[in-house]
């Protein structure tokens, strides 16, 4: 089920970024802002494109209770959308959160990958 796919990503990926487009083809300025902030903090990023099917976004927002895209989760916890992630990055709080959640050496695992949801 779609909702199970989404919750599995949220629960198992260290840093999940639900966005419009993918890191190599970002389709929205706010998704770009969140991606840039995570990159600058050295985060390992698992990106999920919510654009291919409107149900992706509906299910995600139903799960998280957060109405807008992007949404960033660290170890299953909603960190916020573009405004919050940018604000946390500017104060250094994002790096502290990543260190607390993923360990001192999280930057060594910096990578970007994309998971595609299946609508079936």
């Amino acid at each position: 089920m779609l909702r199970d796919q989404i919750s599995e990503i949220i629960e198992t990926e260290p840093v999940a970024l639900f966005m419009k487009g993918t890191p190599s083809f970002v389709a929205c300025g706010n998704s770009q802002r969140a991606l840039s902030a995570l990159r600058a903090a050295g985060a390992p990023i698992t990106a999920v494109d919510i654009l291919p099917d409107p149900r992706f976004r509906q299910e995600l927002s139903g799960l998280s209770g957060w109405p807008t895209i992007p949404q960033v989760f660290v170890n299953g916890e909603l960190v916020g959308g573009a405004d919050i992630v940018e604000e946390l990055a500017a104060t250094g709080a994002l790096e502290r959160k990543l260190t607390d959640a993923l360990g001192d050496d999280y930057r060594d695992r910096q990578a970007e990958r994309v998971i595609a949801l299946s609508a079936a």
């Binding site: 916020g80 959308g81 405004d83």
Partner: protein, 79 residues
């Protein structure tokens, strides 16, 4: 600066945050669907940014749900 587009949002926020020390809605593009909302309220004290933004989303659930807001930027502050 109130406009046809920002006034309804301003009113919803005034209702939700009657004790706000700062409250503004800016139509970022002039197109009436990209907004920057700034709210400073004692209600935010002790809340995480996620919970602060949730209060703003709750106040604007109507226009967020009916598609009249295409993009919303939020800045919240405790007082």
């Amino acid at each position: 600066m109130a406009s046809v587009a920002t006034k309804p949002l301003q009113e919803l926020l005034n209702e939700a945050f009657p004790d706000a020390t700062e409250l503004s809605v800016v139509d970022r593009t002039g197109g009436g669907d990209h907004f920057q909302v700034t709210v400073a309220s004692p209600r935010f004290e002790g809340l995480s940014l996620v919970d602060q933004h949730r209060l703003v989303y709750d106040a604007l659930a109507g226009p967020l749900g009916d598609g009249s807001i295409h993009e919303l930027r939020i800045k919240t502050k405790g007082t």
